[in-house]
Symmetry: C2
């Protein structure tokens, strides 16, 4: 359940927009009207609205009002947007996902690993290599590095299911921030083998590397996520902020 007023207003408006309560390009109720509707202060309404702006759902027009610019996205393919685990994505898309652990080991970050991942040299890590299936089709190979001190007690069995589920529900860790980079890389032999790709078809794949921070401000995860190109889609909404 929402823990604060502005969150529940945000959620309520978001649903209404998604359900088409306000037509595309039309104005939402004014801030003043929303204050009446939700019985709260102007700041609280504005906070909810600013989150919707960040989502690319609405746009504020000074002097005019708030315009709905939400368009339902084609869910033809597998979409990765916010910070969510493979399991969450699968559920959101109502597909059956499964995970196969290819490797599970503990290691210490040497100079090479440290410079690549951003972990300090000498850090104790878990390394997990997993293959994610969607509807029996192998789509993603994940190479995860977890900071052992932040993710104690990780096992191969946990990795078979959802590691994020373990982090949030068992360790009560909160994921806050994730810095991600999308690139395109040549296929490796491992990719070819497990993703069942044919080099004559695609010889590249989409790679997302991410550094994830928990609520203590500690980077506890580095992941390289290698995606089948034909099922890859990365969405983003950029808001230009006033600068200089």
């Amino acid at each position: 359940m929402p823990r604060s007023k502005y969150e529940s207003i945000y959620k309520d408006l978001k649903e209404k927009i998604e359900e088409g309560e306000y037509p595309y390009q039309e104005l939402l109720p004014s801030e003043h009207q929303l204050i009446q509707t939700y019985d709260c202060s102007r700041n609280t309404v504005r906070r909810a609205l600013s989150n919707l702006v960040a989502d690319g759902y609405i746009q504020t027009l000074p002097g005019k009002g708030v315009r709905n610019i939400y368009q339902a996205v084609e869910q033809a393919s597998y979409t990765l947007g916010s910070i969510e685990s493979f399991r969450e994505s699968s559920l959101r898309n109502r597909r059956s996902g499964s995970t196969r652990v290819l490797q599970f080991m503990e290691l210490t970050a040497d100079r090479k690993i440290a410079s690549r991942t951003g972990f300090p040299e000498g850090a104790e890590l878990y390394y997990v290599q997993r293959l994610h299936y969607l509807d029996l089709k192998p789509l993603i190979i994940n190479h995860n590095y977890f900071l052992k001190s932040a993710v104690p007690g990780l096992t191969r069995e946990i990795a078979e299911g959802s590691i994020y589920n373990y982090l949030e529900n068992t360790l009560h860790m909160t994921i806050v921030n994730s810095k991600r980079t999308v690139t395109v890389e040549k296929i490796t032999q491992i990719d070819e083998k497990y993703l069942e790709l044919n080099v004559d078809d695609y010889n590249c794949l989409a790679v997302i590397t991410s550094q994830t921070y928990n609520s203590d401000g500690v980077m506890f995860e580095y992941t390289q996520s290698r995606h089948r190109p034909d099922y890859f889609r990365f969405q983003d909404n950029a808001v230009r902020r006033k600068s200089s």
Copy 2:
């Protein structure tokens, strides 16, 4: 120059972080101290800080303080992050960029174009196809569609330079919002020809499609941007907001 207090505080703190004034993982001055420093209210400081959180520069730790999690990014390759034009990116990376117009024409959106771009059927459009060079190397082919009514007077000559420069400085249009999708696609003959790619090397490239809105809430641009995979990098920072 900054038009508001919170923007100038944001900018000042951002520069200090980038210059290493606060070590990685260390705490910034508390909100109370920042209030003294900038002689403003708490809300104004918090607004500046929340922008830095969105940038992935800092993380707030309730009860503790504000932690610097900024790490200078490796600028080895061409980076696209926020909404910026090719010229802006080139300048930021201190490279010499140039642009070659391959095609410039006016057209009317038929059903096919409308459904692909999101423009209404029958909309009058400019279509621009351009090749962008960085240090004499062809990196990107752009297919731009501009809404004629929102971008009047666009010419081939303007397209040779910076269209965004024209939009902002001549038409005084403000770009507000851009919805983007990254995918990986097979190379076409056009790509192969102009990007000087060898199919035996890479047979895919990175494609960014974007729908851009101006300050009137009108989608005035649809662009498909096709990038040489070896020079492509897309960065992002995701903040997990409380949900459900």
